[in-house]
């Protein structure tokens, strides 16, 4: 009698155990592997699974692709997927052609920027006309690069430094 009771207990316990094991299905690792396999070839997407919750991250080119990946993950994981958190970022593909070259054609704006910059070079004077910056005065050679870099950054049509007397 006692023995039977114990056997029943054990049987009942194992039944419960196997039932719950069946209910929880695949482990997180297995589920992750399964979804990753389904998404083979999508190198910019990463899959994480935490207690049945699938987290998708990475970058794709369109919203359509983002949704497509989510549905692939859902299908692949089937009943084992408790929920899906889709953190995939949609980012438009990078333009292959660089931006066209722009040159400043507004003397007032360019002049103001030049004046601001030239405050650090009191020994020379600059003027702006038709997008061309002309500088005159005396300057140490070591400072010429800094001057030219700063003026080139303002995208002028031309920087004329021929009026500068260079001090060695």
């Amino acid at each position: 009698m006692k023995f039977n009771k114990l056997t029943f207990c054990l049987l009942a316990t194992s039944a419960v155990l196997s039932f719950s094991a069946c209910k929880s299905g695949l482990s997180d690792d297995k589920l992750e592997e399964k979804i990753e396999n389904a998404l083979t070839g999508r190198k910019t997407v990463d899959v994480e699974v935490e207690k049945g919750k699938v987290i998708l991250s990475g970058t794709v080119a369109s919203e359509e692709e983002k949704q497509q990946i989510e549905s692939i993950a859902k299908t692949a994981g089937d009943k084992d997927v408790k929920s899906i958190q889709n953190d995939i970022v949609v980012s438009a593909p990078v333009a292959t052609t660089p931006a066209p070259i722009t040159v400043s054609n507004n003397d007032a704006t360019l002049g103001a920027a030049v004046n601001t910059f030239m405050k650090d070079f009191p020994s020379v004077q600059a003027s702006v006309k038709d997008g061309i910056i002309s500088v005159t005065g005396t300057l140490e050679q070591a400072k010429i690069v800094t001057l030219k870099q700063g003026l080139d950054n303002l995208n002028p049509k031309k920087v004329d430094l021929s009026g500068i007397v260079v001090k060695k």
Binding site: A99, I101, V103, Q141, I144, T146, N153, K158, V159, S162
Partner: protein, 139 residues
């Protein structure tokens, strides 16, 4: 000789040292060059080559506007003034009040770029404000 031939070494170096979005065109007798250098070293090297071809930039037949890719928000930048402190201002412009100073050689944090000339920075003393980008270089 065309300007692209005259500055061939400069353009070739820009290409081979990985300058991104490199673009150049001759406009009104001036070779306009744009791009993003991977490091400050590459940018400095390009300027050195340019200076060798056109000593003291006397000819003025090039406008070289290359910025540095590593100078992005959140990165560390070094103050490269001649010898004075770098003024940090409340807003982007020399008419703005000075709210702090950064010493020559000091390494500070670039928070964002208001425009090509004025960058928002934070010093190690947690002073925050705008300073002139010309005096900052990525580390």
């Amino acid at each position: 000789m065309s300007l692209q031939e005259k500055y061939k070494v400069l353009l070739d170096t820009a290409q081979s040292s990985g300058v991104n979005d490199l673009n150049y065109a001759e406009m009104d007798g001036v070779l306009q060059i744009r791009g993003t250098a991977p490091t400050a070293d590459v940018k400095n090297k390009l300027w050195e080559i340019y200076g060798n071809i056109d000593p003291n930039f006397q000819t003025g037949d090039v406008v070289l506007n290359v910025d540095v890719a590593t100078e992005v928000p959140g990165s560390q930048v070094k103050v490269i003034t001649e010898n004075s402190n770098l003024n940090i201002r409340k807003g982007p412009g020399t008419d703005q009040p000075i709210v702090g100073k950064a010493a020559k050689g000091e390494i500070i944090t670039l928070i964002s770029k208001a425009n090509e000339q004025w960058w928002l920075v934070r010093t190690n003393d947690n002073e925050e404000g705008y300073c002139y980008a010309q005096y900052l270089e990525s580390v």
